[in-house]
């Protein structure tokens, strides 16, 4: 595949292809459990599942270094997990517990982890782009060689924040890797119903930012494209935009009756599901057996079970801490 993959495989770890698969499975099983727990009332609020889109986070996150910055959206469970936020802390956050990665204040849409340079968890569509630009500006001004990866959906490309952020990044040649997960629907509004220009790369090209369009259901293609783009950004060539063409298998949120798309369309995309297509590919290449797959799946299941147990047992934040951390110095009003 590429140098990064070979380097990782050579380190005596799990073969890299299996890591990609395992990571997609970890996201999938975690989110399936979240949906189940939503049904039982353990998880409340909005819950936006990433199911179907796992190849994007899995392929892209492995293209980044541990010291890079990551800015994500409200559909960020997978990104947080693959960034290294422990599943325990993510699950506890979903439960609203103090052991959660945002102390239970954020919930599903606001996962944060300062130590892993994971800047959320932003539920304002497009809101992450200017933040990513600023993080990259700070790195540039401090002579830090680092990539800021900014995930967003195609819906964000109708926002002013997208255009302002893209222009600033391009104008100042900042090291931002823009990763657009194009799942074709901004909540319930299809791309063609919300954008005059549906070719997203064309739209970005007007900012003189280089682009790549990738099959976001193919984890290897995502990984290779994002490695290439990240390398270019890291080398100081300015921002890069990658469109990951993907599809959300589940509803937008747990409240969505899905009246805006045909069941047949969903079924058609499911045939290209990233987990089963990649495992089929690996099996055909002799790199994976059915037993091997079941082992990975079982490992994901037990990680999920442990995370749920952890979240169940975790304590609630004391109500007395309600006003804590509104400001650093404690003054509120």
């Amino acid at each position: 595949m590429n140098a990064k993959r070979k380097a990782k495989a050579a380190a005596g770890e799990q073969p890299f292809a299996l890591r990609l698969l395992a990571d997609m499975l970890r996201i999938r099983r975690m989110e399936e459990k979240c949906a189940e727990l939503y049904g039982t009332g353990k998880i409340r609020g909005f819950l936006h599942l990433y199911i179907g889109e796992e190849a994007c986070a899995s392929g892209a996150m492995h293209a980044l270094d541990a010291t890079d910055n990551v800015v994500a959206t409200y559909r960020e469970h997978g990104h947080a997990l693959l960034r290294g936020v422990p599943m325990d802390a993510i699950m506890a956050e979903m439960f609203g517990k103090a052991a959660g990665c945002s102390r239970g204040r954020g919930g599903s849409m606001h996962l944060f982890d300062a130590a892993r340079r994971f800047y959320g968890g932003n539920a304002i569509v497009g809101g992450g782009l200017p933040l990513a630009v600023g993080l990259a500006l700070a790195d540039r001004m401090q002579d830090i060689r680092r990539v800021t990866a900014c995930f967003f959906g195609e819906g964000a490309m109708a926002e002013g924040a997208f255009h302002e952020g893209m222009n600033l990044a391009a104008l100042w040649r900042l090291p931002v890797l823009f990763l657009c997960e194009n799942n074709l629907y901004a909540m319930g509004t299809a791309l063609a119903r919300s954008e005059s220009q549906t070719d997203l790369c064309e739209k970005v090209a007007s900012y003189k930012v280089p682009t790549l369009k990738v099959d976001g259901m193919d984890v290897v293609a995502v990984h290779e494209a994002t490695c290439r783009a990240a390398q270019q950004v890291r080398n100081g060539a300015g921002p890069f935009f990658v469109e990951l063409q993907t599809y959300r298998f589940r509803a937008h949120s747990m409240f969505d009756p899905e009246l805006y798309r045909d069941k047949a369309e969903v079924e058609e995309w499911k045939k290209r599901g990233p987990i089963h297509s990649f495992s089929a590919q690996l099996k055909a290449a002799g790199e994976l057996t059915e037993e091997g797959f079941l082992e990975l799946d079982a490992a994901a299941d037990s990680e999920v079970a442990a995370a749920v147990a952890f979240a169940e047992a975790a304590a609630w934040e004391p109500v007395g801490d309600l006003l804590k951390d509104v400001t650093t110095r404690g003054a509120t009003a």
């Binding site: 910055n69 800047y119 200017p130 933040l131 951390d325």
Partner: protein, 323 residues
């Protein structure tokens, strides 16, 4: 040394830029142009284009970038041309800067300073003349400052930069050319309001561009032997309720001057706190002098009529005193 309010801000900016390489200034025309209000004139040449960073007309974008840069270890000072333009950036200020610390369980703080011009009086019409300080003062997670004196113009910026959380500084456009002696001790306590003129018969609260009007009113009233105390709120969030209440407990009467519109105003908040904390100390119902509830008009006589003026303040004080 006698200097202008503008020069005081310039000194504060220059000092901050020279002292800390993490500090930089960013905004529309802050660089080559020298700043709309000439606050950063010459800085582009002195500190270079990286640290005196001209931005496109992208308030949402560059305020958001300021937040990101603050998260990334810098100490940005973002200048927004006027408060009306800040509405284009409200999403980033309210939904990111103000929330990040609490929402992340205390993991991130945003040491960002936003400066902007506010207020009317220059015949700039309705889209360049409003006072929306109270909108910002409504939001937990940010500090809101309004320097009204040359000393505070000199002292507030450094104190704001030392704050680990977002600070919004409102510079009233009418104050840039005002002059005063800058005393050696210009350091500013950004927790406390300031008593600008002690007095005994009534507490007159004001901030920003209304402070000189309140002080002029106090002088006019003194000529009629009416001795009022003038309190500069100056820290609009968190409000220094203690200083406010202590003053009212001494004088037993209050008038609040606020260039914002009356409905839902900062003056309303101050009055509510007075009523909550000093109800039984009051000898008369407090009054407010606010802007009339209209978009600020262009014509001079109409603009003047829309704003708090010395005569209106004097009349309100006399009404409360029943003289």
């Amino acid at each position: 040394m006698r200097i202008s309010y503008r020069e005081a801000i310039r000194q504060a900016l220059r000092e901050a830029l020279a002292a800390d390489p993490r500090v930089f200034l960013m905004g529309e025309d802050v660089g080559r142009y020298g700043g709309t209000d000439a606050v950063s004139k010459g800085f582009y040449e002195e500190f270079g284009p990286e640290r005196i960073r001209d931005t496109p007309l992208s308030e949402l974008g560059f305020v958001g970038a300021g937040i990101g840069a603050a998260l990334g270890g810098m100490r940005p000072i973002v200048e927004i041309m006027t408060v009306n333009f800040s509405l284009l950036a409200l999403d980033q200020i309210v939904n990111s800067a103000a929330l990040l610390r609490h929402m992340s369980g205390g993991q991130f703080s945003v040491p960002l300073v936003i400066r902007m011009a506010t207020g009317a009086g220059r015949q700039l019409g309705a889209q360049h003349s409003h006072s929306l300080e109270n909108w910002f003062a409504h939001i937990p997670g940010i500090r809101v400052l309004a320097p009204a004196t040359v000393a505070d113009a000199r002292g507030m910026l450094g104190a704001a930069l030392a704050d680990p959380d977002p600070v919004v500084i409102f510079e009233h456009a009418q104050l840039y050319n005002t002059e005063d002696e800058l005393l050696d001790d210009w350091h500013c306590d950004i927790e406390r309001a300031a008593i600008r003129r002690p007095g005994s018969r009534l507490s007159l609260f004001a901030y920003g561009g209304s402070l000189p009007k309140a002080l002029d009113a106090a002088v006019a009233l003194a000529r009629e032997s009416i001795d009022v105390e003038v309190v500069d709120l100056r820290v609009l969030r968190p409000l220094d309720t203690r200083t406010i209440a202590e003053s009212v407990r001494r004088t037993h009467r209050a008038v609040i001057v606020d260039e914002g519109w009356r409905s839902g105003s900062l003056a309303a908040e101050v009055m509510a706190r007075i009523v909550e904390q000093c109800f039984f100390d009051l000898d008369a119902p407090p009054l407010r002098v606010c802007s009339e509830e209209v978009p600020i008009p262009y014509a001079k006589h109409m603009e003047d009529a829309a704003l708090p003026q010395v005569a209106k303040i004097v009349a309100a004080v006399k009404e409360v005193l029943n003289v």
